[in-house]
């Protein structure tokens, strides 16, 4: 009986030896980009957008003969949007030679990967994670963010709220770190603008039924509603709020609430809802127009959605950093990224050296019809220097 232990151990050993890869990655000329992202689960839709944008950027680059002569290659692995799985898959990608990582969805995934990047000799470029921590107290030299952080979204609320006529506001936010932060900054913005907060509600993440909250908002007498819900929560709420007539009665605006893909799902329900827009295909820059045209040609007339635009921007940054560094080595690329200025779909933007946060303009607008389709229409552009608050000082950036 006991001897069978040995047998098991022996089997294990030989299995391990069989599965081991043949040797270290050799192709130094190839720019290998690892994409750990959500392919299954609630965030699979967002993962699909990230992958589409990355594939688009890579195909474009390879068609031009590669990035500074380096052919680009990607590998995608499923993280299920879980930090622990993201860590495992990112490590796997990095050790297989895909040392430039991007495409993760949940902030927790980025936070989980951060401390390990040095161990893997990898870098991570966030294009979707919004938690302030990433470029705040959890910042590391090998982590970069080319998308807006929560603080950048919060910064545009204050001027915008001042321009609104509604005096009584309700807040409905997801009861998770991001939603709480957004709710808090809205309260502050309201104080500055002398608006009343008549209800401040945090709904559990992944709620099915929003009726109790809708009822609370209705009976609070709010004229305006600020919503910080994303994905499934956003759709469930919007659908049910429409049913209860809330969307027609109250002025509704939000953050991450009516993204392109939510608009696609919600259809007419989302029409007229205001919100922060981090990227829209309707943006009027030459680079963006070219990008949108190319995208439409490739994807049967579809326009890029917000996460697709943001991820594409991240790829532009990575490619330009590689060109500048004349190397695909992660450390060299990181050096080129830190403090660098890049030509992107949003124009010329700088990646701040202090905390590796991209200094970006931000936008406000509403969902309206454009070219027969509902899209986020930008009404207000907040320039990068206003939209991006200075580094808070919580980030103690080390050396590469």
């Amino acid at each position: 009986m006991r001897r069978s232990h040995l047998l098991a151990f022996g089997l294990l050993g030989s299995a391990a030896a069989l599965v081991a890869p043949a040797g270290p990655a050799t192709a130094q000329e190839t720019l290998k980009i690892g994409v750990p992202t959500a392919l299954t689960g609630t965030y699979a839709g967002l993962g699909a957008e990230a992958v589409r944008a990355i594939e688009f950027a890579v195909a474009e680059a390879n068609a031009k003969g590669g990035v500074a002569g380096h052919k680009v290659e990607i590998k995608t692995l499923d993280t299920e949007a879980k930090p622990e799985v993201a860590r495992k898959q990112a490590e796997k990608l990095a050790l297989e030679g895909y040392k430039i990582l991007t495409g993760t969805i949940a902030s927790g995934e980025g936070l989980a990967m951060g401390p390990l990047l040095a161990r893997w000799d990898a870098i991570y470029v966030s294009t979707i994670n919004k938690s302030d921590k990433l470029t705040g107290d959890s910042c590391v030299p090998r982590m970069f963010r080319t998308n807006h952080q929560d603080a950048q979204d919060a910064a545009v609320v204050r001027p915008w709220l001042g321009s609104r006529k509604e005096g009584k506001w309700a807040i409905l936010a997801a009861d998770i770190a991001w939603g709480r932060d957004s709710g808090k900054s809205f309260v502050e913005a309201a104080k500055v603008n002398k608006k009343d907060i008549v209800a401040e509600i945090y709904s559990p993440f992944g709620s099915n039924d929003y009726a109790p909250f809708i009822q609370q908002i209705k009976s609070s007498g709010a004229e305006g509603l600020w919503v910080a819900l994303a994905g499934r929560d956003a759709i469930n709420f919007a659908t049910q709020a429409k049913e209860f007539g809330l969307l027609d009665k109250v002025f509704v605006a939000g953050v991450s609430f009516v993204t392109d893909n939510n608009v696609k799902t919600l259809g007419a329900t989302s029409k007229g809802i205001w919100g922060i827009i981090n990227y829209s295909s309707t943006l009027d820059t030459p680079a963006n127009k070219a990008f949108v045209e190319a995208w439409k040609t490739k994807y049967n007339g579809d326009e890029p959605a917000s996460f697709e635009g943001e991820t594409y921007l991240g790829m532009q940054v990575i490619f330009q950093a590689v060109e500048k560094a004349k190397s695909v080595k992660p450390v060299d690329v990181a050096k080129a990224m830190r403090g660098g200025t890049f030509d992107t779909v949003l124009g010329k933007v700088t990646l701040r050296a202090e905390d590796h946060q991209m200094v970006l303009p931000n936008y406000f607008g509403y969902i309206g019809e454009r070219g027969g389709k509902l899209r986020p229409i930008i009404t207000e552009t907040i320039p990068a220097n206003v939209a991006t608050t200075p580094p808070t000082g919580t980030c103690k950036m080390g050396e590469l």
Binding site: N208, D209, F213, G267
Partner: protein, 282 residues
């Protein structure tokens, strides 16, 4: 407050329709079906696809039929061959089924969220307690009440309902009386799955459709089934209504503890009565 209670009734009603299928299957097969949430999800998608052409009733019917077939297949191909094994083996099999169904839905309907419109005949709202209340939500309550009523009438008055009750209590004696208990089991699992499908279709206009949507209701329906008493229809009904209320009122009045309340309720009930409110099995 009164409207909130009505809201709780809607949610409780929805939970009831999802859970009662689990109760049926557990009562006869003594199996905790982890794939039940996925059957719910599949029902929502089937309803979504059919609603475009067949309307609400067509969607409901299609979801019921498709899911009944899935349930029948599940019983014949998997549950019956495994009925002499340890129940945990069957539980794992339903785990496997959960994974397959999620993958299947993602393959067929894609990864993006989908949404069913509220059927036009039930759109709009009515005034209740001085507040406008969506008609469709009243329909959900009505459907839950109909299912509860229909099911208890069927179980009480029909021949097959009698066989179901008899073989849930004592399959051997029932079989000795000449009842084909294998067929009863196929019918029960098919009906349980069909109810999951119907509940999916019903909730499709309220919820975002995604392959993983089943996981958001599975645990809550487990709570309903366990608190009500495994295998008890009346218990499930009471538990669903109670949990619907506790859930909604908790969210409004004790938001910091609301998500934990159903779990604590379940722990409390089980420690007080391991068989649940009205159950006789453990």
């Amino acid at each position: 407050m009164l409207v909130q209670i009505l809201n709780g009734l809607v949610y409780g009603g929805l939970l009831y329709i999802v859970s009662v299928g689990l109760v049926l299957i557990f009562g006869l097969r003594r199996i905790v079906n982890f794939a039940h949430g996925s059957l719910f999800m599949l029902g929502a998608y089937v309803g979504f696809s059919v609603a475009a052409m067949g309307g609400f009733w067509g969607a409901l019917l299609a979801a019921a039929i498709v899911l009944a077939l899935v349930g029948a297949l599940l019983d014949i191909a998997i549950l019956q061959p495994l009925q002499r094994e340890d129940p945990i083996v069957t539980v794992l099999v339903t785990f496997g089924l959960l994974l397959i169904l999620e993958d299947f839905a993602q393959f067929v309907w894609g990864k993006d969220f989908l949404k069913s419109p509220v059927p036009t005949m039930f759109s709009g709202s009515v005034l209740i307690f001085g507040e406008s209340f969506p008609v469709y939500r009243l329909v959900v309550i009505a459907v839950a009440a109909l299912v509860a009523l229909g099911l208890s009438v069927w179980l009480r008055l029909s021949k097959i309902g009698l066989y179901v009750r008899a073989s849930s209590a004592d399959p051997l004696t029932t079989a000795m009386q000449g009842v084909n208990t294998d067929r009863v089991s196929v019918i029960v699992v098919a009906l349980g799955a069909a109810l999951a499908g119907i509940s999916g279709t019903i909730s499709a206009p309220l919820l975002a459709l995604s392959p993983s949507m089943g996981s958001y209701i599975l645990i809550e329906s487990f709570i309903v089934v366990v608190v009500g008493g495994l295998g008890s229809f009346a218990g499930a009904f009471i538990a669903a209504i109670v949990i619907g209320q506790v859930h909604n009122l908790g969210l409004v009045y004790v938001p910091w503890a609301a998500t934990m309340i159903p779990f604590l309720l379940m722990v409390g009930v089980l420690i007080w009565r391991p068989t649940g409110i009205a159950g006789s099995h453990v």
